[in-house]
Symmetry: C2
Subunit: 141 residues, 2 copies
Amino acid sequence: MTDSRSILKSLKDTGHRITQSRKLVVEALCGSKVPLAVLDILAQLKRRRSAVNKTTVYRELEFLNKEKIIREIDLLEGKKRYEVIHSAAHHHHAVCVKCQMIQCVEMENDLFELEQRLSDRHRFKVTSHSLEFFGLCKDCQ
Amino acid sequence: MTDSRSILKSLKDTGHRITQSRKLVVEALCGSKVPLAVLDILAQLKRRRSAVNKTTVYRELEFLNKEKIIREIDLLEGKKRYEVIHSAAHHHHAVCVKCQMIQCVEMENDLFELEQRLSDRHRFKVTSHSLEFFGLCKDCQ
DNA sequence: CTCCATGCAAACACTTTGCATCAAG
DNA sequence: CTTGATGCAAAGTGTTTGCATGGAG
């Protein structure tokens, strides 16, 4: 639950327009505990009676991703999800293969060691990674 | 480069038919160092003048995935890739965001510790994970 | 007033489904 | 023979593009 106002302010400060659609999409993403897909965002805005066009949502997500406000998450569903990058804790996701529940998992040390090894052995400079877990949540076991 | 014959034999032993298409798809997957997408497989078979229908390839991959012969890889491309699960080394992939090169990366200890933590803290039973690295390969840096 | 942002429709890419036919064992 | 595998066409889903219009600053 990152504060949407601070995000909008920083966008304004870097010379970007704050349109109604931009505001709504950012608020939707900030208000969610789990990564949202395009259709999730569209449905949520529709429910709030502030519909935004599908194309606009796609373009907005592309913009926010480029600005490093959000990042792309792929949970092997055949569609992309997005979540706000909150400066605090870097985290990953655990997806229940039975009930589809998505749980965020914070991790401290994380993959630093593995990435270091990649750099040493293969001269590959890692800029990002994706790590998702699949299995059974406590209710579905 | 797993041996396609041993895979086909084990499929036969478990009562599955060895059709021409099945043989060709398994061979294509076994012959590749990187995970293949459906279109890669189709193109390769076409080049070898042994075309198989697109639908058949999709269905065959679904089958092989269910049989745990191959597994699904998602490199954030908007399509799925598949690779043979070879019993030896569990590995991940490093994708160059500039030249799209895909490199396999073997990892020993791997994520055992992280998965253990997930189980302890969240009672989540991990059955699989996906871990991919994105960045710049040694030629593109 | 000037651009960037928006909506709509159409195009695209990837994947799935229904159904009649085929072929492995 | 019998049942699972195949091909084709059509439909489904998620995403992108072209173009004319609209609105933020």
